[in-house]
Symmetry: D2
Subunit: 115 residues, 4 copies
């Protein structure tokens, strides 16, 4: 897959072929998205932070699939609400950059904890 | 922003400039991601499904920002675990397609409910 | 079971018998709790609000079990952090009552949406 | 507060006084509950497991309040669906006990990871 537009189109076709669009209100999609996010959390819940950085095999495969599911629902929601995800992420990074200036928060765990 | 690679690079630079990488274990990133997913859910929790499809103004802006935050953390996690998000999404769509053949599930809400 | 104290004791004994306490840091328990909350959300994600109020059979059984799991993890966390759940809930209701005085918010959906 | 029944009654009166019952479909309550669960996760997301077990001051207060919010929404949902939370928890502990016999899972992290 070469870019987000192609993903958007593939997800749209997948949903249309199954006539599932009528279930896809933004409200419902936000629920589906957090369910997938929780399946990602579940993969890490009993691991130490160090173990979570060194996953392999079936665990790694499961993590990749949950990440994929999150992106798929996020893409469905973006289509539904006509949001340009990359533009939104770029705008948010700029806003976050103003809120947390590098020189002020650098190396300060407390500042990070407020983040 | 032209593509996911550029987003990946911008997110990486943002985190590096603040020396926040040491907090970013996959375990912690999965927690941050679900917190953002919940902030998205919060925007929709008291709306009807129909209202959720017709948001505007400050509500719409907030929804876009939460979607952006989800993508940013998903991108951080992808960098950390060396996951190609688009390839993972493509593989997952194929797998889902085999699990829910269009001709079998089309127009069947019960099948969808198992999804 | 007659009260929360008996539940607390049963949950504690269950965990101790399996030597699982070493996995039960508050951080990990918060992850386990949100995973169960998501399994509850999953039961409702494709239902209309009206359908969600009229569940029965296997769906109803699943919902009860997810609610039970949430209470069990909440109880584990309360034991771990020495929190009196009923006292905390009572204090929070008083605080919420001051934040949202009945006479001001009554029948005002917008006020509720800020809630 | 002496027991869950008193909490149930207080929560019911709180909601009724504000005429908020019409927003409280089980679907919506499950969303509100996971939002509160995420606010709990947020308190722990950048802490180490050890730090999460040694919280105090404002952090501890915030954690208690999020736990209270979770219990309040769980109680609202239980009232709505006519679920006896303590009985459900007791039944679930018995079911879990059969699924994870102490003698088989004791001290086995892998077994726990399947949990």
């Amino acid at each position: 897959m070469k870019d987000m537009n192609e993903l958007k189109e593939k997800v749209r076709a997948f949903v249309e072929a199954r006539d599932w669009d009528r279930f896809h209100s933004p409200k419902n999609l936000s629920m589906a998205l957090i369910v997938e996010a929780a399946e990602l959390v579940e993969q890490f819940q009993w691991l130490t932070e160090e173990e979570s950085a060194n996953i392999s095999g079936a665990k790694r495969q499961a993590v990749e699939e949950e990440m994929a599911d999150i992106l798929v629902y996020l893409t469905s929601l973006a289509t539904k609400l006509n949001v340009d995800l990359l533009a939104a992420a770029e705008a948010k990074l700029i806003k976050n950059g103003e809120k947390y200036p590098a020189e002020r928060v650098r190396g300060d765990a407390r500042k990070y904890n407020e983040y």
